[in-house]
């Protein structure tokens, strides 16, 4: 009784504002906007085609190590971007959620550690792992949202560290320091999914799917409400939204994406250990999301690609600069600092600024054509 439902509103709308016929729904511009062909910028179509035919262009190593890893890290960073960019909550627990999913797949499913792993089939252990990961992420969110936004980083970092220390010390469930190895994807449709080409398409599929879903949800009532909560939570309360419920739901949604990424990550190296979700990787996810840009879903994937390239070829770069190959963290840290200094919106921010400067009318200094 306390909420007004849609059918009432439909009646009210017709009579509330006497209109004659000028405001009937037929004239309403649909929220779904112009046709899908013109709505998506052409750059994305080119990228899509390129990605689909990639296996014909590059080596197996590149497919598996560079692109596979990019898609996986991109997904986990996407979950951070969803919470941070749309929700205003910078959560450092995403990698731990991913790690939890990976661990659960190793524990419930088959692995080389036979005295702990239960060896259950994939259609049981994968959903179970995702459910547990989502519960973990949601509970963390429930703890974090009751404090001011700025504490979120601290609280999620503390919980991520707790997860790391716990998995390292616990031997009965998590097998402590060594973790689990021999964690392989199931052989579905007779395909060995750890071969380069199948794995590439597998990760491409999930990355694309999560990208599309996040883009879609951002304009749904839930996504809009989340952005409203980000911009003005006081107003959202005053409009009838339960701010905390929305934030916690956002954590649940983000945890699902991170969980899928975590399972793929475990399959990629066929192992999971405390270090997978250690403090270094946890912060790296934030670095990736920020470098790419927190404003649009493509950002995390751009950041992941740059990170993976750096990580793979950094040694050569460092040596050419006369430094030891060990100084990878220094390189990452400096690049991160530079980006935050000069373009807090990451690569996407640089791109936007460049496009804006190209459109600028030299007389009025104003740029024509809106940005998306």
């Amino acid at each position: 009784m306390s909420s007004v439902d849609q059918s009432d509103l439909a009646k009210v709308q017709g009579f509330y504002f006497s209109s004659g016929s000028s405001l009937r729904p037929a004239e309403t511009k649909p929220q779904s906007g112009p046709s899908i062909w013109s709505a998506v910028p052409s750059g994305y179509w080119v990228l899509a085609v390129l990605l689909l035919i990639m296996p014909a262009l590059v080596s197996d190593f590149t497919l598996f190590q560079i692109f596979g890893w990019t898609f996986i890290l991109g997904m986990i960073a996407l979950s951070l971007m969803f919470l941070g960019g749309y929700g205003g909550m910078v959560s450092l627990v995403q990698m731990s959620v991913a790690g939890m999913a990976g661990y659960m797949v190793a524990i419930f499913g088959p692995s080389a550690i036979t005295d702990i792993s239960l060896g259950w089939p994939w259609w049981l252990n994968i959903p179970l792992a995702l459910i547990i990961a989502v519960i973990f992420g949601t509970l963390t969110g429930a703890l974090a949202v009751r404090t001011e936004g700025i504490y979120t980083i601290m609280i999620t970092l503390a919980i991520a560290s707790a997860f790391f220390y716990f998995t390292r010390q616990n031997y009965t469930i998590f097998n402590g320091f060594s973790g689990f190895n021999g964690v392989l994807p199931p052989e579905l449709f007779g395909v060995d999914w750890r071969q380069a080409k199948p794995f590439y398409y597998l990760t491409l599929f999930w990355a694309t799917l999560s990208f599309l879903i996040v883009s879609y949800v951002s304009r749904s009532p839930f996504g809009l409400a989340l952005q409203g909560v980000r911009d003005n939570s006081r107003r959202m309360s005053a409009l009838g939204f339960s701010v905390n419920a929305h934030r916690i739901a956002a954590y649940a949604f983000a945890s699902l994406i991170a969980g899928i990424g975590g399972i793929l990550l475990t399959w990629q190296s066929a192992q999971i250990s405390p270090g997978t979700a250690g403090q270094g990787p946890v912060i790296d996810i934030l670095v990736i999301a920020v470098i790419g840009g927190l404003r649009k879903p493509i950002g995390p994937f751009i950041g992941a690609f740059i990170y993976v390239l750096l990580k793979t070829f950094a040694i050569d770069v460092l040596v050419s600069l006369g430094l030891s190959g060990d100084r990878f963290q220094l390189l990452v840290g400096m690049s991160f600092l530079l980006i935050v200094f000069f373009s807090p919106d990451g690569i996407l921010g640089l791109w936007d600024k460049w496009r804006e400067s190209r459109n600028r009318d030299p007389l009025t200094e104003r740029s024509s054509g809106g940005l998306q």
Binding site: Q6, S7, F17, S18, S32, Q227, D231, A238, S242
Partner: protein
Amino acid sequence: MSIAAVPATVAERLSNTGTANALELRGVSKYFGALGALVDISMTVQPGERRAVLGSNGAGKTTLFNCITGDFLPTSGSIRFFGEDISEFPAHERIRRGLRRTYQISLLFTELTVLDNVYLACCGVSRGRFSFLRPRKNDALVATSEDLVHVVHLEDVKDTKVSELSYGQQRQLEIAMALSGAPRFVLFDEPAAGLSPTERSELVEILTGLPEHMGYIIIEHDMDVALRVSEYVTMMHNGAIFKEGKPAEIEDDPEVQALYLGGDDGA
């Protein structure tokens, strides 16, 4: 564009209050430390009544609104909304019972468009607010949002980002947000502040044209606007109610004039 009568079924449900008052405050006080922002406020507002709350700066008017909507809890006293005791409810629960409010300083979502803002406001009290699905072509909420945008004369800028609107337009949007979700009672906090004379007449037109069952309380410094859109006036001073009466009586009351002479006159 005028607002016609609401059909019987919906109107009944919306204003079915039995004999309850729309808003009933009993002994409401709010202290910040030793500072009494509200001191023992008791007032009763009928459903559909148009009330103005006037007073100089610091009289406690906005604090009164904050207590009613739940931005903060009163130090003592009770608040009843259509017979229900809402004194301990969080803000969003009060809103879902049909209470709405505008703010002195517009609280809008600056990075979203006008239509998005109103759409969000409509979602707030409807069941679709957790929906992950985008609205379909003939979605009722989208249509309602469009209508509301028309009511406040903002249809030309409905796809513009709020940050690019003029001040007056933003104030109009504030009103649209408050009218969304078919509220039973609205609190308008200085809606005329900073508006040009033409905009003020538009505002008066919008307010007087609201459906009969929708009551409101308006805080205003502009006595002219306030007295034109209300049928009863409550005057506050130093956190307490100073006088109550019909607009004409208040206007002519010598004590009120003494209080206002030399003081802030709403400019």
